[in-house]
């Protein structure tokens, strides 16, 4: 177990964390502001991946794929908000869960009809292939480094928008008292649609970047969505900062657990026992972490004020 290996896995953890953050940021805003549970957020991640791959193959340009993924998920997101979610704002969480569960079934099957059930693989353009040389002689895949950079840039941008702009002010005000904001003459419905659309585009961004490193198949959205729920529970509902910290913690813990728990256990247990317990424990690690956080800080690490 060399330091370069640990460092590389740490970067992989940050990279997973950044992906989780992109999904969690949109979801936590929707939860915090609109008080709506949207299980179909994972579907937007999947749609982003499929649209980007198809557009990139069709145009032979990675960037066209990126644009198609972003624009497509923005549109689909706003459409979902207009058609389905608007009718659900006044309903309880149970109805929201059930209705968006129905949406998931629809989107997963629609994707299977259009693209088939087999996994798709996306290729990278030449300028994103290759490795970065890191200090200390290690090297790291350029594409994963780009994902980390994009994710951190989005985090900075979101922080700026939410804390320094008029739109961000409205978002925060809407989160703490939506009736008051509406009474002051803000078109809260439009605000909801815009926030939902941008949340969808962030999920799409995560999805279109995921195409090159994870398998693209129907149902891919829900596997990551449940991890995103863990992120939000750890970070605190409605808090962007919580989403970022929670996502990085979950990403790093999950990645390091999968990489090092088995060899680590093998130093204390017999190798057969470690072979069984290692992967089992590694796959449970983030959920146990969630339970621990809930026991110590029931409202998450950074509860949103309001």
């Amino acid at each position: 177990m060399t330091f370069t290996l640990i460092f590389e896995q740490l970067l992989n953890g940050v990279q997973l964390g950044v992906m989780l953050f992109l999904l969690a940021a949109g979801l936590t805003l929707v939860l915090g502001i609109m008080n709506v549970v949207n299980l179909a957020h994972g579907s937007l991640y999947m749609i982003g991946a499929y649209l980007a791959i198809t557009a990139a193959q069709w145009s032979d340009s990675y960037l066209v794929g990126v644009a198609a993924g972003l624009a497509g998920t923005l549109l689909v997101g706003m459409l979902i908000e207009l058609v389905a979610l608007r009718a659900l704002y006044r309903r309880d969480h149970l109805d929201q869960v059930l209705a968006t569960f129905g949406l998931i079934l629809f989107f997963n099957e629609l994707v299977a009809m259009l693209w088939g059930r087999a996994a798709l693989f996306a290729s990278l353009p030449a300028y994103l292939q290759g490795h970065l040389e890191l200090p200390g002689g290690a090297s790291y895949p350029l594409y994963r480094a780009v994902i980390i950079a994009v994710g951190l840039a989005v985090a900075a941008l979101l922080w700026y928008v939410v804390t320094r702009t008029r739109l961000g002010m409205l978002i925060r005000a809407g989160a703490s008292n939506r009736a008051m904001v509406a009474a002051l003459g803000v078109n809260i419905r439009l605000l909801y649609t815009v926030v939902f659309g941008f949340g969808a585009a962030l999920a799409g961004l995560a999805g279109l970047m995921a195409g090159q490193i994870y398998t693209v198949q129907p149902g891919m959205g829900e596997l990551i969505l449940i991890q995103v729920f863990v992120v939000i529970v750890i970070g605190g509902i409605g808090s962007i900062r919580g989403a970022l910290v929670g996502a990085l913690i979950v990403g790093i813990v999950d990645t390091l657990g999968r990489a090092f728990l088995k060899p680590l256990l093998a130093t204390v247990l017999s190798s057969a026992a470690a072979n069984t317990a290692g992967p089992a424990l590694a796959s449970m690690l983030i959920y146990l972490l969630m339970a621990l956080v809930l026991a110590l800080r029931p409202a998450g690490l950074f509860p949103a004020r309001g």
């Binding site: 549970v37 309903r91 949406l103 079934l105 099957e109 449970m284």
Partner: protein, 312 residues
């Protein structure tokens, strides 16, 4: 009073239809319906147990598949080590599920709203991954039962005997739930659902009641899992897949939340609908999904709501 009669009429119809079904199906040469209805009754037990906490307790648990899986794996793992005694298997299935529910509930019942939904979903996913990662018990591929649970007097390999046992267990689960809900315990549970602040003010802290109900529901769900393992002779992590939790939830809702017969009707409606759609097209979920959305938007009272009022 009329609602009271209609409830009896509804239950009477359900019982009579289910009692004569094996004879009719066999006479018409459609014996496979016995198998289909067995599956429906197993899911009805799961939906009945969820209805206890969801319909009467207001706890939106998106993780009921966890107990289906725990119960199923309890049977399969005991059978793996050569223990085929049904009473032992089912007792372990119920006990283990109650313990798992107690552990999940201890963390999740303290929270409410969106948190509760996300946490129950997350813990169920944890168990799903646990099932996948334990290679000894088949991992991803699951584990096959060599034989069905061995019970005194009954032979589960006989489709009709298994059928009537399931009918008895389903009615037993519905009756037990009815008794729980109308007891002092059930009143406290329902009071906490309808107004938590008032319920606290008169001296009932909801937490112990909710946690106990959560564990009871888990135990009943574990029984459903043990039965499902016997039905399919096969246990895989798919028992605990999150879509399973969603399906069970839909059964409880479609039938009519907080009604005694609702979960049975809901299980029947959803599984029959899935069956019919899947025979029509491979892509049946593309139709089922929007149908479910529409049912949430426009059919809130559920099937039993056409006949009886919710007790809560």
């Amino acid at each position: 009073m009329r609602a009271f009669f209609r409830e009896y009429l509804l239950w009477g119809t359900i019982i009579v239809v289910l009692l004569v079904l094996p004879a009719v199906a066999t006479a018409l040469g459609m014996g496979f319906y016995i198998d289909v209805v067995r599956r429906i009754m197993i899911f009805a037990i799961a939906a009945i147990s969820l209805n206890l906490i969801l319909g009467y307790g207001g706890l939106v648990s998106f993780g009921h598949a966890a107990y289906l899986g725990t119960g199923g794996y309890a049977v399969a793992i005991l059978a793996f080590y050569g223990i085929h005694n049904g009473l032992a298997q089912w007792a372990v299935a119920i006990g283990a599920s109650a313990l798992v529910a107690l552990a999940i509930g201890a963390v999740s019942v303290r929270t409410s709203g969106i948190y509760f939904i996300m946490i129950t979903l997350a813990f169920t996913q944890m168990l799903y991954y646990l099932g996948i990662s334990i290679e000894e018990y088949g991992g991803d591929d699951g584990i096959r039962l060599k034989m069905r649970s061995q019970l005194p007097l009954l032979d589960l390999a006989d489709p009709v005997q298994f059928y009537y046992l399931l009918l008895a267990l389903m009615l037993g689960a519905a009756y037990l739930t009815h008794r729980i809900v109308s007891s002092r315990f059930g009143m406290a549970l329902r009071a906490a659902k309808s107004n938590e602040a008032r319920s606290r003010a008169i001296g009932f802290s909801p937490y112990p009641y909710r946690l106990a109900a959560f564990a009871i529901a888990g135990a009943m769900g574990g029984l459903a899992g043990a039965l499902l393992a016997n039905q399919t002779s096969f246990v895989t992590p798919e028992y605990m897949h999150w879509t399973r939790s969603g399906e069970i939830m839909f059964m409880a809702i479609l039938g009519g939340m907080g009604t005694s017969a609702g979960p049975v009707l809901g299980a029947l409606a959803l599984l029959a609908l899935e069956d019919a759609l899947s025979q029509w097209t491979e892509h049946w979920q593309v139709i089922l999904g929007p149908l479910l959305v529409l049912s949430v938007l426009f059919f809130k009272r559920g099937l039993a709501g056409l006949f009886q009022k919710p007790d809560a």
